[in-house]
C-alpha cells in the first residue's frame, strides 16, 4: 500500500484530507508543520505528500526545498494544497519542486482528480 503524508496545521483539514486520501487506498501519516513532516520523511520516505503552504515553525515551501535536498527526497510526489492560489504562488510552488497543486477549498473529487494527474492513482 502506498503511503501519503498529510501536512497541515489545521487538525480539521488533516482529518478531512486523511479520510479522502484513505478512501483512495493510501496509508496516511499526519504532521502539523514542515519540521515535523521532515522528521517523518527522514524515518521513512512517503510516496506522496499533501502539503499546506502557511504553517508555523516551517512552512510548506521551505519543507519542500529541504525535502528535495534529502537523500531519497526526490521520490515523493508533492501535491501542494493552499489558499495561496494565484498564478504567481502556484508557479513558485512548481519551481520549488511540487508536482501538482490543489487550490483550497477542496473536495474528494478534486483530490482524486489531482492524484490521477500526478500519477498516484
Amino acid at each position: 500500500m502506498k503511503r501519503c503524508l498529510i501536512v497541515d496545521d489545521s487538525r480539521v483539514v488533516r482529518k478531512v484530507a486523511s479520510r479522502i486520501v484513505g478512501d483512495l487506498r493510501f496509508d496516511v501519516v499526519e504532521a502539523g508543520d514542515g519540521a515535523e513532516a521532515l522528521n517523518l520523511c527522514r524515518e521513512a520516505m512517503p510516496d506522496a505528500v499533501l502539503l499546506d503552504w502557511n504553517m508555523p515553525v516551517m512552512n510548506g515551501l521551505d519543507f519542500l526545498r529541504a525535502l528535495r535536498r534529502e537523500p531519497g527526497g526526490a521520490k515523493p510526489v508533492i501535491v501542494f494544497c493552499s489558499t495561496e492560489n494565484d498564478a504567481d504562488h502556484i508557479s513558485e510552488a512548481l519551481r520549488a519542486g511540487a508536482d501538482e497543486f490543489i487550490m483550497k477549498p477542496f473536495d474528494a473529487d478534486i483530490i482524486q482528480s489531482k492524484f490521477v494527474e500526478a500519477g498516484l492513482v
Binding site: 494565484d86 498564478a87 502556484i90 512548481l94 490543489i102 477542496f106 473536495d107 473529487d109 478534486i110 482528480s113
Partner: protein, 280 residues
C-alpha cells in the same frame, strides 16, 4: 410536485429536447427547475407549469428543457478517446485527397470543456500530419446560458480542478479578479460556439470529419435518438467518425464496447457494428 405537473414538464422535455424521464425521476425535475421557478418568482412548480400553459413561450420552454438536461462533464473526460482523435483519427482524415481543412463538431458540448480539451491537446502535441491543415472546431449546445458561458471561457474553482493538471491550468488559463479562471484568447479563438438543438435541422452546419456527441443521447427517448443518429451520420464527411461517451456503450444504438465501438458508423450507414443505427 403533483403527478400532472411532472407529466407536463416530462412532456415539454420530450418535445423540446427528446429527453425522457422515468416515472420515479420526478425529484430530478424538481431539483433542476427549482432555481428557475424561484428566479422567475413562482412559488411552486405548479405555478410555473400553469404559466407556461397559459402563455406558451418557445424561448422560455427551451431554457427549461436545457435546465432539465443535466449533462455533467469535466475537462479531459474520456481522455483516451480525445487523445486518439488527435493522434490517429484526424491525421487519417487529413490524408484524404484535396482536403483543405478538417472540421470537428462537439454536439451537446455544454460550457465547452470537451472542445477546450481538444484544442489543448492539439496545441500541446500537434501530429506532423496536421501541421499544414487548419482544423475548425464547432461546439454547440441546447442551452443558451451554456453557450454564452462557453464563449466567455470562464470556469470556476471546482471546474478547473477536475480533469485538468495544474500545468495545463497555468498554460491555458488566466485567473480573473473574481477568482474564476478564463481560457486564454488564443484557445478561445480556435473554437466557434453556437446554440443548437439536435432535434432541429442540422444541414446548415455542413460536414464534419469528427463528431463528438458524448453523454447526450443516453437520456433521449428512442425515436428521438434514432432521428439524431441518422441526422448526425448525414453530417459526416466521407470516412468521418462519430464518438459517443465511453460509458454509453450499453445504450441502444450507441455500440457495445469501448473505443472502437464508439465510432459506430462511417460515412452514411456503413456501420462497423451497430445494427441499431442501420435499422434507424
Amino acid at each position: 410536485m403533483i403527478e400532472s405537473t411532472f407529466q407536463e414538464f416530462a412532456d415539454l422535455a420530450r418535445r423540446v429536447s427528446g429527453q425522457t424521464f422515468a416515472p420515479g425521476k420526478a425529484y430530478l425535475i424538481v431539483a433542476r427547475l427549482q432555481p428557475i421557478a424561484r428566479r422567475e418568482g413562482f412559488a411552486t412548480l405548479e405555478d410555473l407549469a400553469a404559466c407556461l400553459k397559459a402563455r406558451p413561450n418557445p424561448v422560455f420552454e427551451n431554457e427549461i428543457a436545457a435546465a432539465l438536461v443535466s449533462k455533467r462533464t469535466e475537462f479531459f473526460r474520456d481522455r483516451a478517446t480525445l487523445a486518439r482523435i488527435v493522434s490517429d483519427v484526424l491525421p487519417v482524415a487529413a490524408e484524404t485527397p484535396a482536403r483543405s481543412k478538417l472540421r470537428v463538431w462537439v454536439a451537446g458540448g455544454g460550457p465547452g470543456q470537451e472542445a477546450f480539451s481538444l484544442v489543448m491537446l492539439l496545441n500541446e502535441a500537434r501530429p506532423v500530419a496536421l501541421e499544414d491543415i487548419p482544423i475548425d472546431i464547432l461546439s454547440t449546445d441546447l442551452s443558451k446560458a451554456a453557450t454564452e458561458r462557453a464563449r466567455s471561457g470562464a470556469f470556476g474553482h471546482f471546474e478547473v480542478q477536475k480533469g485538468l493538471s495544474i500545468h495545463r491550468l497555468l498554460a491555458n488559463f488566466t485567473r480573473q479578479d473574481d477568482g474564476q479562471w478564463r481560457v486564454n484568447d488564443e484557445l478561445r479563438r480556435q473554437i466557434s460556439f453556437r446554440q443548437h438543438n439536435l432535434l432541429e435541422d442540422m444541414e446548415g452546419l455542413g460536414e464534419f470529419d469528427v463528431v463528438l456527441c458524448r453523454n447526450v443521447l443516453g437520456d433521449m427517448v428512442e425515436s428521438a435518438r434514432a432521428h439524431v443518429l441518422k441526422a448526425l451520420s448525414a453530417r459526416l464527411a466521407p470516412g468521418g467518425h462519430v464518438f459517443f461517451g465511453d460509458e454509453e456503450t450499453g445504450v441502444a444504438g450507441l455500440g457495445a464496447g469501448p473505443l472502437e465501438a464508439s465510432e459506430i458508423f462511417q460515412g452514411g450507414f456503413k456501420a462497423r457494428r451497430s445494427s441499431a443505427v442501420q435499422a434507424a
